[in-house]
Symmetry: C2
Subunit: 264 residues, 2 copies
């Protein structure tokens, strides 16, 4: 437990100006916020944890969570004033940790490790942090085995995506592909049946029965999935009102993943 | 079409300092943003529209939308600089309108007008603007007949709730009750079967069959619905993973409303 008295203390440099940190070279590091997320982080095998930064007034409630962390992890403690000066804005919850991604070997290693009846979610062009976080949360709730993202989708380790996911991005394994063509080709090589969720889909998602490995593609709300990509797979729709046929992509993922859940 | 040259012009006073306007007396007025939302507003019977404020560069793309508005409605046009000065921040989309709610006669009048197989969504304690907006969007997509809110839920006419709903709060009728007890009693008087969605619910929502009028209650993620309220009705759950039993309330509403949709 190390008391921090100044925002300039070099030991807490990675916590400085948190809002800007998503934009510049993070070298695999990320900021996790909140007790629930820290519980997930400290239990996750795919991530290392470098330190925690806790508001002094929150410390007493954090004992059980901090007990999950590696014994050698430094816990920095700061007053509200110092913490806000470090972060660059008012840190309401006062519970932060600095994690680092371990090298997992990329998409091939991830896909090779999945079971024979795996379900993966494939995101193409989902650049909104809230949507990516919300999709991961739904993927965790309905036990998808992995999430794959093309390079134009947002990094799941962005602070806001982690927060919205309530830690699910630290729980559901993910990997990134350079583009949707390599995503499709790699999934095909690993024996995945690939289906696209689209408002104009040919079949009802509720009628689809999983057999073997399945990949569910989700695209942006505006443009949707690229037509050249959809031409290569079965397209599925969620039937809804004719007069308001507009569903947020995270809401659509909730409905589809609930339908595809093997626990059903 | 009226050109506005100064942020101090009294004609655009209701658009000033938009961010703060949700917090103070709005007298039934609200700001709608974006072309899609304005299309819904101009077609809605429950709202009057007082004016529009459009960025000069967006005007040419707005002809079809503005043709839906009342002929006497003033259309104010401003440069990006003037518009940002009016709003108090950078207005990226540049398409705003000022609406006003008509007096609809409250919850009794609304419930009396609903069909015999009506589905209503009842929100208790949902104070987050994004969640309220997202739930309205799902309610519109799956043709709920109305949304009812207790006084502790957020006003659906808050700017961000309207935007997240993509205009659905202007499409799905709503009314507010002082508390959940009067909400329950009023719905009972109008013959509604009332069910509560809760992680610990007794039955699977997918097993519920609508018969007559149905009200689906949703509560906050943290505390959930009040136990005294849940004791008065059937409780329903969405089955999910044991190891990550956490679903956002908007995602839960998507799954439940999709299951309850009469179009299924």
């Amino acid at each position: 437990m190390i008391r921090i008295e100044s925002a300039e203390d070099p030991r807490i440099a990675p916590y400085r100006a948190i809002r800007e940190r998503d934009l510049v070279g993070r070298e695999g590091r990320f900021i996790a916020e909140g007790k629930v997320v820290l519980n997930v982080l400290f239990s996750a095998r795919r991530f290392e944890v470098e330190s925690a930064l806790i508001l002094e007034s929150r410390l007493s409630g954090m004992a059980a969570t901090l007990a999950l962390a590696p014994a050698e992890m430094p816990v920095y403690v700061a007053s509200q004033e110092v913490m806000d000066a470090i972060a660059g804005f008012h840190i309401h919850r006062g519970v932060l940790a600095l994690g680092r991604r371990r090298d997992g070997g990329g998409m091939d290693a991830l896909l090779a490790s999945l079971p024979e009846d795996a379900l993966v979610v494939a995101l193409v062009g989902i650049s909104n942090h809230d949507n990516v976080g919300a999709i991961f949360r739904n993927a965790a709730a309905f036990e998808a085995d992995a999430v794959l993202l093309d390079a134009s989708s947002c990094d799941p380790l962005y602070r806001k995506a982690i927060r919205v996911s309530v830690g699910a991005v630290l729980k559901v394994p993910f990997a990134t592909a350079p583009d949707e063509t390599s995503l499709f080709d790699t999934l095909a090589r690993y024996g995945f049946t690939q289906i696209a969720l689209s408002p104009g889909g040919a079949e009802e998602i509720g009628d689809f029965r999983r057999a073997g490995r399945t990949a569910l593609y989700l695209g942006t709300e505006g443009e949707g999935l690229p037509t050249t990509l959809m031409a290569r797979m079965k397209t599925m729709r969620i039937a809804m009102s004719d007069s308001f046929d507009s569903l947020n992509v995270a809401a659509a993922s909730a409905i589809a993943l609930h339908r595809l859940w093997r626990g059903r």
